[in-house]
């Protein structure tokens, strides 16, 4: 390009190249700056029950989608007893303190959130809980930490238990699927020392595989598996399968939940 007669066409093109390059790189750099700003905003946002607020919002939205999508809950796959693990993994020990006196244990149930009257509290023995047809369940127990294990449990179907004692309804009548408005939204459970507690949506609690469990591998529950009574709920991660139930109560708002407060999602549904 020695001669000065640079064609108009070429100058135009050069200008166009320059323009587009500048615009593109400006957008590119702005996007990077935007990403950094977003990230900082994200990390400095306040916490809601142990999770950064934007993350908590997304977790809650995910749970809402899950609840709408999976109205008819599937059954968890069941296995033959021969497939069950002999050495059942012990993971959590919160609420499993040594001071527990099995002889004094009673299951205490609050029919309604405000237990004003004496008859809204029900006190049951282990024999009472066992007074139902026993359901054996061999399933793949899944831990939120990433491991899973095929384990064998036995107990009373929670739905049978609710029906017999007329629990889980505002009216105090037996649960009627045709009157969902009468059913409490949640059931809460707590260890006798109140140190571990879970909240479970009633749809999952009423699932036919949800058990008040008193047996493991065909024998009484070991101490470290929550003797005398624990929850087995295949539709949820292990964290919801509370050991050593001391209290059961019903509520329309979310009962407090140990791991939810630590930043996990509430439902923990599978």
């Amino acid at each position: 390009m020695e001669n000065k007669q640079v064609p108009d066409e070429e100058r135009k093109i050069n200008r166009l190249i320059k323009q587009r390059t500048v615009i593109s790189f400006t957008v590119f750099i702005l996007l990077i700056i935007g990403a950094v700003i977003c990230w900082n905003w994200f990390n400095n946002s306040p916490e809601d029950n142990g999770a950064l607020r934007p993350l908590r919002k997304v977790l809650t939205a995910n749970e809402d989608i899950g609840r709408k999508l999976f109205k008819n809950r599937n059954l968890a796959k069941e296995y033959p007893k021969s497939k069950a693990e002999n050495k059942v993994r012990v993971n959590g020990d919160i609420g499993m303190g040594d001071e527990f006196d099995a002889n004094k244990w009673h299951l205490i149930i609050m029919r309604h959130p405000d237990c004003a009257s004496k008859d809204s509290i029900l006190e049951l023995s282990l024999e009472d809980v066992k007074g139902f047809p026993k359901k054996d369940l061999v399933f793949d127990f899944k831990c939120i930490e990433g491991w899973s294990q095929i384990t064998y449990w036995g107990g009373t179907r929670f739905i049978d238990f609710l029906m017999k004692y007329h629990l889980g309804t505002h009216s105090g009548r037996s649960i009627d699927i045709n009157h969902p408005e009468d059913i409490y939204n949640y059931v809460g459970m707590m260890t006798p020392d109140s140190s571990y507690y879970v909240g479970i949506d009633m749809l999952s609690a009423m699932h036919p595989q949800t058990l008040l469990c008193y047996e493991m591998n065909g024998a009484a529950l070991p101490m470290n598996q929550g003797f005398p009574l624990r929850l087995i709920i295949p539709l949820k991660y292990g964290v919801k399968n509370i050991k050593r139930i001391g209290y059961i109560y019903f509520s329309d708002s979310k009962p407090k939940d140990y791991w939810y407060e630590q930043g996990y999602e509430y439902d923990a549904s599978l």
Partner: protein, 202 residues
């Protein structure tokens, strides 16, 4: 991100471990120990970004017709091998290419398939009882987890190679990635000696 509390990811059998993907020093260095809840929260947040981004990208390639330049063709597999030899400096021959060379075609298509794989295995792990059929299809819960993890390792490798290739390709290529076109000067003199090729090589 999800495996900060219970590290099940290692190569080995029984109690023997060949390789731990995330040794304890990894967590210590990044201050990531015992933060499973946060990891999960991020995971279930970014899954939406992953899905929406992938969806829009695929939609764009379909609408723009770019897919024609991205899908491998009959010659691609042979040429991809030649590209490999060339890039490793084992051969001087560089096979002809359009916007993307044969290796890029294969890899950029594979990454989309991997994306679908991550989506499917992810859903299977996320709701293994509600998506029981999907979980079974993928070989069961444990297998779906492994597949999901292997795919993730695949992305990491893709990312590393991608970055190295961009560094090796030089500034002009990087500029093209950002602006969407590459400037080429042509030696022959006819009137306009600069042309715009709408060309970007990512």
């Amino acid at each position: 991100m999800i495996y900060w509390a219970n590290d099940v990811y290692k190569l080995g059998w029984g109690d023997k471990t060949l390789l731990k993907f995330f040794p304890d020093s990894f967590y210590a260095a990044l201050h990531l120990d015992a933060r499973l809840a946060k990891g999960m929260a991020f995971h279930f947040f970014f899954m939406w970004l992953f899905f929406v981004n992938g969806f829009l990208y695929v939609l764009y390639t379909i609408i723009s017709g770019e897919w024609r330049l991205l899908l491998p063709n009959r010659k691609s597999f042979k040429e991809a091998f030649q590209v490999l030899l060339h890039d490793l400096h084992l051969s001087k021959y560089e096979p002809p290419k359009d916007k993307y060379n044969a290796a890029q075609r294969i890899v950029y298509t594979a990454i989309i398939i991997m994306g679908f794989g991550s989506l499917a295995t992810g859903l299977a792990i996320y709701k293994p009882i509600q998506f029981q059929w999907l979980c079974t299809l993928l070989g069961g819960y444990e297998w779906a987890r492994i597949e999901h993890f292997v795919l993730t390792i695949g992305y990491v490798l893709f990312f590393i190679i991608h970055i190295v290739q961009v560094l090796l390709a030089g500034w002009n290529n990087f500029q093209a990635m950002v602006t969407g076109f590459e400037v080429e000067s042509l030696p022959p003199t006819p009137p306009d000696n600069t042309i715009i090729k709408t060309d970007s090589k990512e």
